[in-house]
Symmetry: C2
Subunit: 163 residues, 2 copies
DNA sequence: TATTGTTATACTCTATAACTATA
DNA sequence: TATAGTTATAGAGTATAACAATA
């Protein structure tokens, strides 16, 4: 479909040799080396995201909204914030998802300017299938050894802890 | 801006406890545990990609094209392939980038149906700045210990090797 | 006055279908 | 006939600006 594309090319300016990122003292370059490779893998995968969303007849953004909307009512302004987009876009986005019966607008009783979004029953069901699909590891990951997987999992936990 | 949003929410259906992904036998769930956490970090970061592209007055897709176009002439159809989009879109995309002086169309001499894309001098200069910017590790990664960074780098190398 | 959501407008990205020029 | 790129058209996502309702 569209979106970020994958690449087998390194981000390093020096070129694409298998050990690009080995230059300079290892310690000064270490975060950059690790990040560059991680970024490459990320883009290789994100390239498939629009197609994955399309499996559920969702646009990439809609898939993301369904994913975000799991934790109960969310103000439209909060959603705009999560999506890093202008509030005006959320109106049309929610219009389309509401027309498909995935979400509902409910006026807040505390502040009548605010409209809270909730998934419909159909939305919740779709979300469960989507999350299940998203959690399927791609080949690139599934092919790693158990030792690497354990290490990767633990490193990711430590990285996300600081969030 | 827009795009994938970050989330502090786990993909696991069971919930968002710090050790979601710990359930079941560790070995059967290991790829999924590692992937779920990696996916979370990916999305947290991809959320910033449109803003990063905008630093260079590029749309996300244009930024991606600049990145891809580093290895010399590329047929428009090949670019469409890389972008996982229809060839008709590449016409407009390249029109806009050509108008900005970033790329040039050159008719192939082997097959006069084909047009090869090359970065202009300005395009090359922009690409170098962009790659430099993309290679900057985000805080989440930069904060990891050297030991974790080394392990992460090596695991990513092994994962990408199988590509 | 400030904030929430909407509307209006414009641009980019995307898909499909029909077209052209080559092969 | 088949392929590479274009054009036409339509829909989705995005930004900015102006607006109504509410705080």
């Amino acid at each position: 479909m569209r979106g970020m594309s994958g690449s087998s090319e390194s981000l390093e300016r020096r070129g694409r040799s298998p050990d690009a990122g080995q230059e300079a003292s290892e310690d000064t370059g270490l975060p950059r080396q690790a990040w560059t490779l991680l970024f490459e893998l990320m883009h290789a995968h994100m390239r498939n995201f629009p197609a994955l969303a399309a499996e559920f007849e969702l646009s990439p953004v809609q898939a993301h909204v369904v994913r975000q909307l799991g934790e109960g009512p969310l103000a439209m302004s909060t959603l705009a914030n999560y999506l890093s987009c202008d509030a005006s876009n959320v109106t049309g986005l929610v219009d389309r998802m509401e027309a498909r019966g995935l979400v509902e607008r409910r006026s807040s009783e505390q502040d009548r300017r605010v409209k809270m979004l909730v998934l419909t029953e159909a939305g919740v069901a779709l979300r469960e299938r989507l999350l299940e699909r998203l959690a399927e590891p791609p080949e690139l990951i599934a092919a790693l050894s158990d030792e690497d997987l354990r290490a990767l999992r633990d490193i990711m936990r430590r990285a996300l802890r600081s969030q």
